[in-house]
C-alpha cells in the first residue's frame, strides 16, 4: 500500500514572504532555478546580437553622428578656433585671431588640411574654398600686422561674416547640416533663415517622398486586397499557384524588372505602340509614362506588391468562413457582411502591409533612380548623390537621420493607434 502525505505547511517567514520546504526564501529559490535557463537562452542569441551590433547598430549610430560631427575647423585650425572664442562678433576680430590663423595655415601647408577646411567652410559660405587655398599658398610670405596684409590680399577676410562662419563652425559639433537639410541657412548676422527660393529642394523632396509613398501604399492595398482574398479562399492547389505568381517578381532581378518597365512604358514602348495601334492616341500624342512620377509609381507599386499581399493573405487565411456565414444568417447582405465583418478583421494585415510598404518605399533608391527622371526622384536619390558625388557626407547623414526619425515616429504613432502586437507579417 502506497502512503502519501502532503504536509499542509505554507511556511512563511517573519517578513511575510513564502519559504521553501528546505527553509530558503521561495523567491531566491525560484530565481536560482530559472537562472540557468535564462543564461542558456542568452548565450544562444549572443552571436546574432554581436552581428547586429557590428553590422547594423554601430553603422547607423556612426551615420547619425556624422550629421552633427564637425571636426575640420577644430582639428586643422586649432589656434584660430581657440582664439576666436573671445571675439564678440562685432566688426573684425583682433590681430591675435589673425595671427593664430596664419600660424595654422603655415602648419597646414603641404597637407590636405587646408583643402578640407576650405571644403567644409564652403558649405556654409560659397567662395571659402578658394579663399582658404589662396591664403594657404600666401601664408609663408605674410608679415605682421596680419590683419591688414590678409584683408589687403583678399577682401573676404575683411567681411565679418567670414569670421562668424569660422567662429560658428569652430566647435566639434554642429547643427548646420540639419539646418541645410531643411532648406535653411545662417544669414550674415547668424540668424537661421530660409535659403533662396530657387535653392529650396529638400523640404519639397521630403513632402514628395511621403506623398509618393502614400500613393504607392494605397495602390498596393487596392491591388493586393483582391489577390490576397482570392488566394485565401481557393483550394490549396490553386492558392499555391497564385502564391508562386505573386512571388515570381521576388525571384527576378530588381534591375531586370525595372528595366522591363522602361521597355513597357517609354514613348516608343510597348504600351504606347499598342495604344497608337488601337487608335486610342495619335502617333504624335504618345504619353510620357516613364522618367517621371508615373514611372516611379507604376514600377514601385509592382515591386512592392508582394509586401502587401503576404501579410494580408496570412491574416485572411485565419478568418474562418463561419464569420461571414453568421453575418449572412443574421440578415446582412453580401456587401454588409464583407464590409462590417470581414474587412475589420483584416486590419492587422492592412496595418502590417501598409507599414511595410510605406517604410520600404520611403527609403527606396534604385527604381526612382532608373525610371524616375526629374520629377520622380525621392529623398534617397539625393542622399546617394551627397554620398557619391558631392561628398557632403554630413548633409547626407542629416537627410538620412531625418528620414529615420520620420519612420520611427510613424511606427510610434502606429503603435499608439493600432498597436504593434496586432501586426501580423506572416
Amino acid at each position: 500500500m502506497a502512503q502519501a502525505t502532503i504536509a499542509q505547511t505554507d511556511a512563511v517567514t517573519s517578513s511575510g514572504s513564502m519559504i521553501t520546504a528546505s527553509g530558503e526564501p521561495l523567491k531566491v529559490s525560484l530565481a536560482r532555478a530559472e537562472r540557468r535557463k535564462r543564461l542558456t537562452a542568452f548565450f544562444l542569441v549572443v552571436p546574432l546580437l554581436i552581428f547586429i551590433l557590428i553590422t547594423f547598430i554601430i553603422p547607423i549610430g556612426d551615420m547619425a553622428l556624422n550629421s552633427v560631427r564637425n571636426p575640420e575647423v577644430v582639428t586643422y585650425l586649432p589656434r584660430t578656433a581657440d582664439a576666436i572664442q573671445e571675439w564678440d562678433g562685432q566688426g573684425l576680430p583682433d590681430e591675435v585671431v589673425f595671427e593664430a590663423l596664419v600660424e595654422d595655415l603655415r602648419e597646414g601647408m603641404g597637407t590636405p588640411a587646408i583643402g578640407r577646411v576650405g571644403a567644409r567652410l564652403n558649405y556654409e559660405k560659397s567662395g571659402m574654398r578658394s579663399t582658404m587655398q589662396r591664403a594657404g599658398r600666401a601664408a609663408r610670405q605674410l608679415e605682421p600686422p596680419y590683419r591688414e596684409t590678409l584683408v589687403e590680399r583678399d577682401a573676404t577676410w575683411g567681411e565679418p561674416g567670414t569670421w562668424r562662419v569660422i567662429q560658428r563652425e569652430s566647435s566639434p559639433f554642429t547643427l548646420s547640416y540639419f539646418i541645410a537639410a531643411l532648406d535653411r541657412t545662417y544669414d550674415d548676422e547668424g540668424n537661421i533663415v530660409q535659403v533662396r527660393e530657387d535653392q529650396r529642394i529638400y523640404v519639397q523632396l521630403f513632402i514628395r517622398t511621403f506623398m509618393l509613398s502614400l500613393v504607392i501604399t494605397a495602390l498596393t492595398l487596392l491591388l493586393g486586397f483582391p489577390i490576397a482574398y482570392l488566394m485565401a479562399h481557393q483550394p490549396a492547389r490553386i492558392a499555391n499557384l497564385l502564391m508562386i505568381l505573386v512571388l515570381l517578381p521576388f525571384w527576378t532581378s530588381l534591375l531586370v524588372r525595372t528595366s522591363s518597365w522602361i521597355v513597357m512604358l517609354q514613348q516608343q514602348g510597348v504600351l504606347n505602340d499598342l495604344m497608337v495601334l488601337v487608335g486610342l492616341i495619335g502617333d504624335d500624342g504618345r504619353l510620357l509614362m516613364v522618367y517621371n512620377q508615373t514611372g516611379t509609381i507604376v514600377a514601385m507599386t509592382h515591386i512592392l506588391l508582394p509586401f502587401m499581399v503576404l501579410p494580408l493573405y496570412s491574416v485572411m487565411k485565419t478568418i474562418p468562413p463561419s464569420y461571414m456565414r453568421a453575418a449572412r444568417s443574421l440578415g446582412a447582405n453580401q456587401w454588409t457582411a464583407f464590409w462590417r465583418i470581414y474587412v475589420p478583421q483584416t486590419t492587422a494585415g492592412i496595418g502590417a502591409g501598409g507599414v511595410l510598404v510605406f517604410i520600404i518605399s520611403i527609403g527606396y533608391y534604385i527604381t526612382p533612380a532608373l525610371v524616375g527622371g526629374q520629377s520622380g526622384q525621392m529623398i534617397s536619390n539625393f542622399i546617394a548623390f551627397h554620398m557619391q558625388r558631392s561628398l557632403n557626407w554630413g548633409l547626407a547623414a542629416a537627410l538620412g537621420t531625418i528620414l529615420l526619425a520620420a519612420v520611427i515616429l510613424l511606427y510610434y504613432l502606429y503603435n499608439r493607434i493600432i498597436g504593434v502586437d496586432r501586426l501580423k507579417l506572416g
Binding site: S322, R325, S329, L330, G331, A332, T336, R340, Q345
Partner: protein
C-alpha cells in the same frame, strides 16, 4: 405527427451531391412542425450538417424542394430567410463587443437605436449576461460565449433557429447545464429549433423528435423514448444507447413474435423488422433489461453465462459475459442493497422478456 398542411419546415425529395458522383443526402423527406425541437443525430459524414446548411441557405439542394412556412426557399438568399443560427465555434465577431454582436442583426434590419438597445438588454438578461455587454468575446469563457451566440441567434426573433453542434467545445458539466438552458429557452419562446449533434445523450435530453441519420438517409424519426425502446433497425439500436446484439437466422415467425436461432440456441423475440423465415436477423437487447439468476419460469429466454469482466460504476456494475457464442454481452447490475454478488469467472444464468428483445434487419 405533423401532416403536410401544418408542416413548418419541409424537405421534399431533397438530394445533395458535391461531386456529381455520390450523394451525401439521399432523397430526404422530413416535416418539422411549428414550435418543435427536432434534432438531426448521426455520425460524422452522415449528411446531417449538409441538411442544416441547405436549410440555412449556405448549400444549394441538388434536387428537391425545401419549404419554410409554406414557401419554397431553394432560391432565397441566406440573409432573407430570417433563420437564426448558432455555429459550432460560436462565430462571435471578435472585433465587436458582446452588445455590438447582439445589435448586429438588428442594425442591419435598420431598427431604431432605442429599440435595439432595449432588445439587446432583454436578450442579455435572458442568457444571464446582463453585465457583460461591454466585454469582447475573447474575454468570455466558453460557456459565456455560447450563451452570447445563442442570444444573438434569437435577438431578432427569427422564425426558425438552427444549431450546428453548439455544445461540442464545452466540457461535460457545462454541456449538461447548457442543454437544460437551451431546452428552457425553447419552451419559453416557442421557437422552432433544428439541432444537429452527434451526441446521442444530448439528442435524447433535448428533443421533441430525433431524426437519426446514416449514410445520407434518415434511419428513424421518432421521439426519444420510442427511439431508445423501439428502434426500427439495427443501426438505430446500435447507435442510440448501449445494446447487446446477436446475429442469427429466423426459424419461426407467428403473431408478431419469432424465434431466432443464435449459435444453435433458440431466442424468442419481437418480430420488428425481419424478412421472414430463413432470413438473417440482428437481435437487439438493452443491457439493463437483462436479469441475472432469474426465478424459475419467469422468462422464456434463459441461458448460461460466464462472467468475464466486472466494472464498478457507482450506481451500477457493468458485467461483461459470454452468452450464446458472444463474449461482448453486457449486463447492467443495479447497485441495490440486494443485488447479487458477482465475481469474475462465475457461472450464472441470465434471462429476459420476449418484448425486450427486438428482431431487426441483418
Amino acid at each position: 405527427m405533423p401532416n403536410s398542411e401544418q408542416a413548418f419546415v419541409r424537405f421534399a425529395d431533397v438530394q445533395k451531391s458535391y461531386d456529381g458522383e455520390t450523394l451525401v443526402v439521399k432523397n430526404l423527406n422530413l416535416d418539422i412542425a411549428r414550435g418543435e425541437f427536432l434534432t438531426m443525430l448521426g455520425p460524422s459524414g452522415s449528411g446531417k450538417t449538409t441538411c442544416l446548411m441547405m436549410l440555412a441557405g449556405f448549400e444549394t439542394a441538388t434536387n428537391g424542394e425545401i419549404h419554410l412556412d409554406g414557401r419554397e426557399i431553394n432560391n432565397v438568399a441566406p440573409h432573407k430567410r430570417d433563420i437564426g443560427m448558432v455555429f459550432q465555434n460560436y462565430a462571435l465577431f471578435p472585433h465587436m463587443t458582446v452588445a455590438e454582436n447582439l445589435a448586429f442583426p438588428l442594425s442591419v434590419r435598420r431598427m431604431a437605436k432605442a429599440e435595439i438597445e432595449e432588445r439587446v438588454k432583454k436578450a442579455l438578461d435572458m442568457v444571464q449576461l446582463g453585465e457583460m455587454g461591454n466585454r469582447r468575446p475573447a474575454q468570455l469563457s466558453g460557456g459565456q460565449q455560447q450563451r452570447v451566440a445563442l442570444a444573438r441567434a434569437l435577438v431578432f426573433e427569427p422564425r426558425l433557429v438552427l444549431m450546428d453542434e453548439p455544445l461540442g467545445a464545452l466540457d461535460k458539466q457545462l454541456r449538461e447545464t447548457m442543454q437544460y438552458e437551451i431546452k428552457h429557452i425553447h419552451e419559453n419562446l416557442q421557437v422552432t429549433v433544428v439541432y444537429v449533434t452527434h451526441d446521442q445523450s444530448e439528442a435524447l435530453t433535448m428533443s421533441d423528435r430525433v431524426a437519426v441519420f446514416n449514410d445520407g438517409v434518415v434511419q428513424q424519426l421518432a421521439s426519444p423514448p420510442m427511439l431508445y425502446e423501439k428502434p426500427d433497425n439495427a443501426f438505430v439500436a446500435q447507435f442510440i444507447g448501449e445494446n447487446n446484439r446477436f446475429v442469427g437466422t429466423v426459424k419461426e415467425a407467428v403473431n408478431g413474435h419469432c424465434t431466432v436461432e443464435v449459435d444453435g440456441r433458440p431466442i424468442q423475440a419481437l418480430a420488428v423488422n425481419i424478412d421472414g423465415v430463413g432470413s438473417k436477423s440482428t437481435l437487439s437487447l438493452r443491457p439493463e433489461r437483462v436479469v441475472v439468476d432469474p426465478d424459475e419460469n419467469r422468462f422464456p429466454n434463459v441461458f448460461d453465462a460466464k462472467v468475464l469482466e466486472l466494472i464498478y460504476l457507482g450506481d451500477h456494475i457493468r458485467a461483461r459475459m459470454a452468452v450464446c457464442g458472444t463474449e461482448e454481452f453486457i449486463v447492467k447490475v443495479p447497485n441495490a442493497s440486494d443485488h447479487p454478488t458477482l465475481e469474475r469467472g462465475n457461472e450464472v444464468r441470465v434471462g429476459w422478456q420476449v418484448e425486450d428483445c427486438r428482431a431487426l434487419d441483418a
